[in-house]
């Protein structure tokens, strides 16, 4: 196995073009586990830790351009204001050590349906900045996940950053695991209110072959909130609307039975999380107050 250590982004792109099978590595929280267990034996490892720009983020108007290697710990500490949903999700990732090394870019590269970032990115609205020696493209995150642990990157492309829409309203993230910390998601649900467009977006994790939005549930809720003039009045979401939203979120799941949980449980739990996160977000929206704290 060859170990490539580009010092600059352009060198990284050139290396990836020359060795399309090279596996990029930054925090190593996924890749090293696979290598240590011999599940993966790439011909080349492409170490990105010297490309310091990947560890930075920029304010880009209505978005945050988040470098691919920014660790979760930075997202929690520094970006909870602009990206509250992603910060909540980052808080549930592994242990403090993992959060110090793992990154959203890595989560996207691995494209595991259980990755904690994905539901939050889907709900907030995000685009993946993919680049190769051929050029740069922005891939809407909905289109980025193409299958279990597969993504839309071309063999010569690397993730440089992810552009996440700044929150214009409350965002929530909820994850079920079978222990109270340091656990891989049995399933997860993210919800973001976008008062600017009077829409609600969602993301479901670990309950389908890829992370998905519950689009039917979103459409129903957006229409129902408009019809009930909730955005205008700030009235609570009618219970029947919340219940139907939860039911449709459940129906958006295509889960499997595995050692972490049953398909039936995942469907059920996504419905419960959909109802609860909607209630929390809507309450925050109408009262301007949060309902939980972590530390």
């Amino acid at each position: 196995m060859d170990f490539l250590r580009p010092a600059r982004w352009e060198e990284a792109l050139a290396a990836k073009a020359e060795h399309p099978a090279a596996v990029p590595i930054a925090g190593g929280t996924d890749v090293m586990v696979e290598i240590n267990f011999d599940h993966r034996r790439p011909s080349h490892l492409l170490d990105l830790t010297r490309v310091t720009e990947l560890y930075t983020w920029q304010d880009a108007g209505d978005r945050v351009r988040l470098g691919a290697a920014v660790p979760y710990a930075r997202v929690i500490e520094r970006l909870a204001g602009e990206l509250p949903g992603l910060a909540l999700a980052a808080r549930t990732v592994g242990s403090p050590q993992i959060r110090n090394r793992g990154s959203v870019g890595g989560n996207l590269g691995a494209a595991s349906p259980a990755g904690d970032s994905h539901p939050a990115l889907l709900a907030a609205g995000a685009e993946v900045e993919a680049e190769s020696v051929r050029g740069t493209r922005l891939i809407p995150v909905e289109e980025f996940y193409t299958g279990v642990k597969r993504n839309a990157l071309a063999p010569d492309e690397l993730i440089r950053a992810v552009h996440v829409r700044k929150a214009t309203g409350p965002q929530q993230f909820s994850k079920v695991g079978t222990r109270n910390a340091m656990v891989i998601a049995v399933c997860a649900f993210a919800l973001a209110l976008h008062p600017d467009t009077r829409t609600v977006r969602t993301g479901i994790g670990s309950a389908a072959p890829t992370p998905v939005r519950a689009r039917t549930a979103e459409d129903f809720l957006n229409a129902a909130l408009a019809e009930a003039r909730c955005w205008d009045t700030g009235a609570p979401v009618p219970p029947a609307v919340a219940a139907e939203f939860a039911r449709l979120a459940s129906a958006a799941c295509r889960p499997i039975d595995d050692v972490r949980g049953s398909a039936a449980y995942r469907r059920h739990a996504v419905g419960v999380m959909a109802r609860r996160t909607l209630a929390w977000a809507w309450e925050q929206h109408t009262t301007g107050e949060g309902t939980a704290r972590c530390a």
Binding site: S174, V176, T178, R179, N180, I184, V272
Partner: protein, 795 residues
């Protein structure tokens, strides 16, 4: 200045028994500097690797090692055909192949060994061994194991249990029968019947199996190893190597936890075989994945219970059948069966009992010793039954238990009279009397929710929605020491000498320190008995006589007893020396009872006769070795289960307080309060540590810890810490501990083995609390969110 009596007493108790002296290895372990067996290193050493079976039951059609052996860097490849001497080993029955002998009987069974100059080379070479298997049908439960025509795991078995078992796939079967259950049932006012199931728990010790074998010039081998009992390993390894025991010299290395999982051999014989074959030191270290295949687990169990009581809440009868899954090889299954059978009724007086416990041979992973050893499974079931029976009678569950609790003088179902304190009712009273933690602790002053106090934790699943509190109680009974007639002894050598004018004691045993704290209490015993401040514990190795196993809550009792006895012998000799040297100076030498305290020889009246150093100066070190046994036990009768089978009983009670997210099925254990009788707390801090550890391990079984085995294939589905979950600090509740010290007159200092009893009661207490919160019957552990939300996979 002449010290006063008070000074002496203070000095003598400093660091002696009853003091919370700190672990000598504590700082090193906390800072990461402690050398575990996985840190062993030797110049020029090779790395061993094990090829394991990918199938649960298969015939090995062919095994071609040529390509592996031809790999550069590879020094040896061994299969069954290369074994030099005995090919099987085992703790109780020698039925486990050193390397598979044409058939593999469980997933992960060792098939071949590789030694190479780099661990990665060894691993890659192992992958080049061409093993061709023909899969065989698997048996994975009682039904498939005893079905007509079921494949027999050991068709030619000739062990001592073979003649009395109902089926060749039953390892051992132990009834316990007393009174007349049918007659009692006829007059019962309330009867409850239930089926229960306990999943396969793993010891999940943090330091994986590891050791270093160094070939010696005399043709023998030196093995540095993390284990629980050096001499039991030696007894099994030497025949495999074809060497006399004195040519296999074993030294204990740093052990990172055990909990029963190091009682059976793992890589010991393998590393020695590779070292002797290559003439080079060989190190073997399992990774976490391999560790799940490298040691036995806790027996999963299915239990059927029927309890009956009279109108006044008196327990009339208990009938039960306990089926333990022993997996492919015997390990310690027979002893686990004996425990499950003899402790099946729990700490309750009951005159009419009909118990049957048995263990199966299946193609599941082998199961053997784990903290609680057969008593854990039974306790989960009988405590659930006691709650249901109380509810049936309209009685408070604690009051119902107290009414039926055993006490000193009670007769166990085996006929054994409990001849030491058995404060079961008092333990229950104490945990119940503790103040309950405040309700809704997640609510903060600002009106928001503190996620850390809620089920789901920072995963943000509830801010209080759906959360219901439950409180549950349980109590358990565990035997201490090896039972059923086992010759359970320990050996200790103690030396006392003057070093630079100070008396110094040296204690030597072959006790395996696995984290339990023997290194603390054994030095404390020497301080108390010899009145010295300086005590050195020597490393454990097989040049010393056996200390017995570090298991069954026995090392403080048995090796502690041996050290105490050796100290007493040393003390007698020191007093003789003193009399010879100074006897003429003071009449008390001849007339008073003399003690060693604070580095002095004093009379029982407190008068100092001489400094220990003065007595020892110019003399040879005073040394004594003693072999010490607890009082004997006897086997249980094979038909009636009657017999004086156990040495000592220990008891612990728990109260669990849980918050359950009833919609998502997530559990937060808020508090697990424990009351335990420890006879005498030799080191109160260590006692609390043992109780906290055991309680947490019981909590793990209640809500998360299970090795998932596919019933269709016998394959392990979650051999990693990603999917085999153990409690984190956020899962670990407040654990108030109330310690009782009612002396057992038969034990050194009156002590009672501590480390296991709380593992029993923690699990059923948590589940009882979850039952109260949810109203669900919950007959299986570990609980899963599916069980609490009706979303389980249909069976």
């Amino acid at each position: 200045m002449r010290p006063t009596r008070t000074d002496l007493t203070q000095q003598s108790t400093r660091g002696g028994i009853g003091a919370s002296t700190l672990r000598p290895d504590g700082g090193l372990k906390v800072t990461g500097e402690f050398a575990y067996a996985s840190d062993l290193w030797h110049e020029d050493m090779l790395w061993g690797h094990t090829l394991r079976s990918p199938h649960a039951h298969a015939r090995i059609v062919s095994l071609d090692t040529a390509e592996a052996l031809a790999t550069p860097g590879v020094h040896a490849v061994l299969t069954h055909a290369d074994l030099p001497a005995a090919t099987r080993y085992g703790l109780e029955v020698q039925d486990a192949p050193v390397l598979a002998d044409g058939v593999v009987r469980h997933h992960g069974e060792p098939v071949a060994l590789v030694a190479a100059d780099h661990p990665e080379t060894a691993r890659r070479a192992a992958a080049k061994i061409k093993a061709v298997y023909e899969q065989l049908p698997v048996v994975t439960d009682e039904k498939s194991a005893t079905a007509p025509g079921a494949p027999l795991l050991h068709p030619a078995r000739a062990d001592k249990h073979a003649p009395h078992v109902p089926h060749p796939n039953v390892v051992h079967c132990q009834p316990v029968v007393r009174g007349d259950v049918e007659a009692a049932r006829a007059r019962a006012h309330a009867v409850v019947t239930g089926d229960y199931e306990v999943g396969m728990q793993d010891q999940a010790f943090l330091g994986p199996e590891s050791g270093l074998a160094v070939p010696a010039e005399d043709g023998g081998v030196d093995l540095y190893i993390a284990t629980q009992w050096l001499h039991a390993d030696l007894r099994q390894i030497a025949p495999v190597l074809g060497l006399p025991e004195d040519k296999v010299r074993m030294t204990l290395s740093g052990v990172g936890g055990a909990f029963g999982g190091r009682e059976d051999l793992s890589m010991q014989a393998h590393a020695c075989l590779l070292a002797l074959r290559t003439g080079r030191p060989v190190k073997m270290v399992y990774n976490r994945f391999e560790s799940f295949f490298g040691h036995v687990h806790r027996h999963p169990a299915r239990l059927h219970y029927e309890h009956g009581a009279d109108r006044d809440g008196g327990l009339l009868f208990v009938r039960c059948r306990i089926v333990l899954d022993g997996g492919a090889y015997t390990s310690s299954s027979p002893s686990v069966v004996g425990n499950a059978a003899s402790l099946a009724v729990g700490p309750y007086a009951c005159d009419n009992v009909d118990v049957e416990a048995l263990a199966l041979y299946t193609n599941n992973p082998p199961c053997g010793a784990m903290r609680g050893f057969g008593a854990v499974q039974a306790c989960f079931a009988y405590e659930a039954q006691m709650d249901r029976l109380a509810a049936e009678l309209g009685l408070d569950p604690v009051e119902f238990r107290r009414r039926n609790a055993v006490s000193q003088g009670s007769v166990m179902p085996t006929g054994q009279v409990i001849d030491a304190p058995a404060p079961v009712a008092e333990l229950l009273r104490r945990v119940k009397a503790l103040p309950l933690p405040p309700e809704r602790q997640w609510e903060t002053a600002g009106g928001s929710a503190d996620l850390r106090a809620l089920p789901g934790g920072v995963s943000n699943t509830s801010h209080g929605e759906g959360v219901v509190r439950g409180v549950g109680y349980a109590v358990g009974i565990k035997n201490v020491g090896f039972s059923e007639g086992f010759d359970d002894y320990s050996t200790a050598r103690v030396r006392l000498e003057s070093v630079a004018g100070e008396p110094v004691a040296t204690v030597r045993t072959a006790m395996a320190e696995v984290g339990q704290g023997g290194v603390t209490v054994h030095a404390q015993i020497a301080r108390t008995e010899l009145g010295v401040a300086e005590v050195t514990l020597q490393p454990a190795d097989t040049r010393m006589g056996s200390a017995g196993s570090t298991s069954a809550s026995r090392q403080t009792y048995v090796t502690g007893g041996a050290i105490k006895a050796a100290c007493e012998a040393v003390r007698e000799r020191v007093l003789e020396l003193g009399r010879a040297k100074f006897g003429t100076y003071h009449p008390a030498w001849a007339t008073a009872e003399l003690l060693l305290e604070g580095g002095k020889i004093v009379t029982d009246g407190g008068e100092v006769l001489a400094g220990l150093a003065d007595v020892l100066d110019g003399e040879e070190p005073v040394e004594a070795e003693r072999v010490w046994r607890h009082r004997p036990t006897e086997p249980f009768d094979l038909r009636s289960g009657q017999g004086q089978g156990h040495v000592q009983y220990s008891f612990a009670a728990h109260r669990a307080v849980v918050e359950v997210d009833t919609e998502l099925g997530l559990v937060k254990v808020v508090e697990l309060a424990c009351a335990q009788d420890v006879g005498k707390a030799l080191n109160p801090l260590s006692v609390v540590g043992q109780i906290h550890g055991a309680t947490t391990q019981g909590l793990g079984l209640a809500v998360m810890e299970e090795i998932a085995v596919d019933p269709a294939t016998g394959l392990v589905r979650n051999p990693s810490f990603t999917d085999y979950l153990i409690p984190t600090v956020l899962d670990t509740p407040a654990m108030p501990v109330d310690i009782l010290e009612l002396a057992d007159a038969h034990a050194p200092y009156g002590l009672r083995g501590v480390g296991e009893a709380p593992t029993l009661s923690a699990t059923p207490a948590v589940v009882a609390a979850v039952r109260q919160a949810t109203g669900l019957p919950l007959r299986r552990v570990p609980l899963r969110p599916e069980h609490l939300t009706g979303t389980d996979v249909p069976a």
